[in-house]
Symmetry: C2
Subunit: 487 residues, 2 copies
């Protein structure tokens, strides 16, 4: 980069060292005198280096001690606005997400993808592969017939026991028999919706929400009613109240109270209590998708929405897929007063879950290794989220906004309003980078200028370069838009 | 048994020896002189012993050599009638099987079950537990990230490859990518039905059929139209033609062409060709449930119904559950022209099947061990079916009929018409024996005097005693009915 001024080149050198963890938060940067000597520059250039790092949030001056590396410059991230919750509710409508997803999948398959930022998925390196392999072989040694004996549907497996035991920490009291294993959280959601609603019925969902849920509603022939959702506190209770007034026939409400996908919002306990009471009062089933709560950075586990259940009206669904082993599809459901119906639907749909995964995962969950793994996973994801957020703030065009959620696997990024996430998706894919366009997260056009970026990949120079390139692609779209607007 | 005549006591002694394999087919029985000496009886009693064994099919006289043990007396089994296929078709009706199954399950849970004859399931001892354990550990050694890496939906797993390769033998040409793994055959059937029909639509099924299919139809809100089915040749094509004339809106036909559950019938190839053409002609999807074909005792594998498909109109569903590992729920589907829709429904319902089971099962299927296992399994099941049929013929009341199917895990037993299978179920359960009452195999009352008996358990004295006791229970019901009729 011959046109880059000297101070910027030197600042970049230290930035790289910080990003590579060679310099960590709290480390002292070279003094002005050292910078002058090391790089053969004047005092004013050395000063410009330090002030650049400071103004971009990478370093802070401490009186009479010099400059020190700070935490990544979170403060510079421009947060999103809260949604308008007083507008007339959206129409409840049949979902047409499949066509969009299909187009996305078809396009994707036509290109080699070198950097996949489109999922909400952790890299294999973040999960305890060896411990899980050992858990599998141990289960097979202790129970030689696990593979050749049919699994009775009411068997008290170590998995059901471990889930029931951990549920106590988040305010639920379930017996192991009340924990019904499912093929991931997605099967649990299918069963929950089939238990409480019929084709044609209206179900309230968060907006934006993950396209997996919209696909489920579409395949079940149910109508989605999108409720404005705060990037901070989750589903807007006020907006839901307005929707109830407009639609008296809402059969169920589906929420992800902790680290909502894609927003990353976390619902405060007071909201959970209000939501539980509201649903009970209006005879709407409340379905909790609790896939991410173990990824929440917080001093104590968050109370499950289900812990506010007073009448069996809340259905709790969750999974180990994102937190223990992405190669397992092991989820569970407790369906409150619909438990018998859900058990019947599960039996008719796919019979009991296999025993081996339940013995292996349950064995590991009952060990101290599980909590140690979760702690480490949360720490890795925190770093990855912060680094990704920082790269986006640095490389994306002005007007980009995002919230840094207190946990989880992804960032939801609002691009300048005039940008199209589909155009960004197309342009990025041509350069072998895959992002999830916002169009997939709503049945409306409201999210068309958002993208969801996965933070599940360990931070590497290649990832950093990919995010920088993605930023350039978005900036090019932004510049092209500005040219069009001026013309 | 003090009232049992002496010759009968002695005959029973030799029967027990035959059943316990102490005497095997071809073995010489004691001579008349030896019998007289051994048991201290007269020549006429000794003769009566031999003639009893002979008349009941256990022994045969060879000129100048004495009596020899024969194969079990298959010839004495009274076969069932063929169904009437020229009657007006049943009404297509919503299924109400769940209530019956619930009642059955509730009752069952209230009793300790010592002998479970109600399933269609092989005992763990019949399956290659050690080889499958080794296959799992080998897969994990070769692919250390199988448990921690998400499974891509289009991954070419060894399981898909093995299924595609074996499909060639039965007349199908599928690429591994066209084999979609599912959670057992039951998930495959759910997906197939959801792909081709909507709630309220009419689906033609065999009558009797397994309650699993009726449950699927009930939970999907579809109507079942029961088509008379031959215990020998399966679904009656003539009866289906009559039904088509009466109901022009049949959306799909579901058949088990090989070893139908519960009948054990096998559809001749000529019927398969006619059925395929008929469904194509009338725009009805044809769904083949091929769960049992590997259990068929035949010199060559039976041609899949799907091999008669000329237009993508046949959906093929199958599973390893009954043939390789009851602890795995690994099935598959090829949905012909509905493949893309089924892939989408599968993704929305439960995502891709886990990789580990696919690597382990696929690895074993690609080895010679799989065919050796199947051969041994078929031989074991043949013995068990024959022994069970023999015990039923011996101990059940006159008027009992059954067909000895050429393979599979079960016998479908017709009791004298005045008997109620529910009463037999109740009485047997009080004695800790579980049978599947015929009421569960039809949405009509047509099967109320049938029971399905599992033959998946290795033959033991306890099993033999259980079947004898079951026979006594049925005989008591029969006698009580005769008394009631006389009163």
């Amino acid at each position: 980069m011959p046109s880059t001024p000297r101070y910027r080149q030197i600042a970049e050198h230290y930035l790289q060292a910080i990003r590579a963890d060679a310099l960590q938060p709290g480390d002292r940067l070279p003094s002005l005198r050292e910078l002058m000597q090391l790089h053969g520059v004047s005092l004013s250039t050395a000063l410009q280096v330090c002030r650049t790092l400071e103004s971009e949030g990478w370093a802070e001056a401490r009186e009479r001690s010099g400059y020190f590396v700070t935490r990544p410059r979170r403060l510079k991230i421009v947060p999103m606005d809260e949604p308008a919750t007083d507008r007339a509710p959206d129409p409840a409508q049949f979902v047409g997400i499949h066509e969009k997803v299909s187009a996305f999948v078809t396009q994707r398959r036509a290109h080699a993808v070198h950097l996949n930022l489109s999922t909400a998925r952790g890299a294999p390196a973040l999960y305890p592969a060896e411990a899980m392999r050992n858990a599998v072989t141990r289960a097979l040694r202790q129970h030689p017939e696990l593979l050749t004996q049919a699994t009775p549907s009411r068997e008290r497996t170590p998995f059901r026991e471990a889930v029931a035991q951990r549920a106590v920490r988040v305010g639920m009291a379930l017996s192991p028999e009340e924990v019904l294993p499912t093929h991931g959280c997605i099967e649990a959601l299918n069963l929950a919706l089939r238990a409480v609603a019929q084709p044609g019925d209206t179900v309230a969902v968060e907006s934006p929400t993950f396209y997996g849920l919209l696909q489920v509603l579409e395949t079940l022939g149910m109508r989605a009613l999108e409720i404005p959702t705060s990037p901070q506190t989750g589903l807007s209770i006020e907006a839901l109240e307005l929707a109830i007034a407009a639609y008296r026939d809402i059969k169920a409400v589906v929420v992800v109270p902790h680290l909502q996908n894609p927003l990353g919002s976390v619902m405060p306990d007071a909201h959970k209590a209000r939501l539980a009471a509201l649903c009970e009062q209006h005879g709407m089933a409340l379905i909790e998708d609790d896939t991410y709560s173990e990824l929440l950075d917080a001093p104590a586990p968050a109370r499950a929405l289900k812990s506010f259940d007073r009448s069996g009206n809340i259905i709790h669904c969750a999974s180990l897929h994102k937190v223990l082993a992405p190669g397992l599809r092991l989820g569970w459901i407790n369906a409150g007063r619909w438990q018998a119906r859900v058990e019947m639907l599960k039996y008719a749909q796919s019979r009991s879950n296999e025993a081996l995964a339940q013995w292996a995962a349950g064995g590991f969950m009952a060990s101290g290794g599980y909590d140690r793994h979760l702690k480490q996973l949360r720490a890795s994801l925190r770093t990855q989220r912060e680094r990704t957020a920082e790269a986006i703030t640095q490389h994306f065009p002005p007007g980009t906004r995002l919230n840094l959620p207190p946990g989880g696997l992804q960032l939801w990024v609002e691009l300048p309003r005039q940008l199209s996430s589909v155009a960004v998706f197309d342009a990025a894919l041509r350069e072998h980078i895959l992002v999830a366009p916002g169009t997939l997260f709503s049945n409306t056009t409201r999210c068309d200028h958002y993208v969801r970026i996965n933070c599940g990949l360990p931070w590497t120079p290649a990832l950093e370069a990919g995010l920088r390139r993605l930023g350039e692609i978005v900036c090019a779209q932004y510049a092209a838009g500005a040219v069009r607007a001026a013309a």
